[in-house]
Subunit: 223 residues, 2 copies
Amino acid sequence: MLTPAYIFSNDFTAFASYFEEKPHTVRSFCKGEYLWAPGEPYEKLHYIRSGIAQNLLEHESGRRKIISFHGRGTIFPGYHRKRYKIERSLLTVALSAVDVLEFTSEQFTAMFRENAALQMQVIDWFSSYANLLLYEAAHQEYNNTFVKLCNLLYLLLISENGRESGLGDITQDALAEILGVSLVNLTRSLTRLRQEGVIRTSRRQIEVLKPDILMRYCSYETF
Amino acid sequence: MLTPAYIFSNDFTAFASYFEEKPHTVRSFCKGEYLWAPGEPYEKLHYIRSGIAQNLLEHESGRRKIISFHGRGTIFPGYHRKRYKIERSLLTVALSAVDVLEFTSEQFTAMFRENAALQMQVIDWFSSYANLLLYEAAHQEYNNTFVKLCNLLYLLLISENGRESGLGDITQDALAEILGVSLVNLTRSLTRLRQEGVIRTSRRQIEVLKPDILMRYCSYETF
DNA sequence: CGACTCATTGACGTAGCTCAAGGTATGTGG
DNA sequence: CCACATACCTTGAGCTACGTCAATGAGTCG
């Protein structure tokens, strides 16, 4: 049974050569560049050949919520046709150099119509995305910061998907923006875990020394 | 541009007669009965011919989060093939007498494969569901209870989708469970709105007297 | 008309916020 | 290679939004 995944990767690799054959544009983004800029409607879909990007939402209060990460071998955003107001506040930023195949909505629709396997993969992608959002909106909401953090560390560093997808380094500020808590509050929970010998921290790095203890702190839905 | 909808309805009515022709089971549920019981894996899909059901998640702390409502002319749950751990904590309850066509995963897959219009509608459903969850997980998270409530009242009572779908009456307890706040805290915000003459409340009923003022309290993403 | 559901208000404790200050790596230009 | 700037992390202090507990009121129904 599947647990939430913050990092999407390698779910469309089976279609890599198929995508290459079909009409598309090759594009590259530098670290820090927007794949999807603020205020822009989301017109294009990207198949990521290499690199990693993060998707986040800017709240009118100035706080930012990191929603998900998208690495090599996946499509972002999900294929959809309707336009939602919230998309104006969503943006996608390259965390490293990113190399993509860009499809217009029409180009992707043509592939979707003819390729039954692709249809199923799009469904699978949506169910996985919905699962992450359900976990965040309906489960994590009721956990305190400490449990939220343990859950996140488990999903990013211990779980199969987390280990495979390998985010590499991450700032504590980013962790706070994933969980929707303040940096100060996040640091306090990390300090507790460090004092208990569960983790070791250094600049942009968190190493889990005692995964079994970390898991005992996690909530039931997490693994 | 579309705003979040808590109530799903009439998005599959175009397929009503198509569904009737295809293999299915007709089922009826009484008010309070589970369409999807706790701990049960989600094996079946329902096309709701009449009635309304709510989908919610039970947290291990005992708190409940109401996620969405599903009325006539829609499908629930969304068509998907993978199994997620969180589904064990999800449940769906009939809020009134509910009459459905029940499809097994295989039966629905057969229809999905042959019917291109259905494929597109399933995509639209997923994008709408993802939009609601994004709104909840990434936007409402940063609003205080008062703004959360104003947003919800707008979406349920003022917005086009809310008015059309018509939840009818709703307890304040349910509102609190949608927003993930305590009943006490919710009541205080309602009291403020009542004192300002924005709403009138009575048992299971909320009437908006001054929609323009309510809207001024809402956050930017809401309409 | 008693029992139950639903709504309201008060009292009080605390998780997590902001503000503020400082410490420690990492990178960069001279 | 050093001086300095910048990014990142940590800790303290005080405030507040929101949670729980508790008591009561006000509709609804068999």
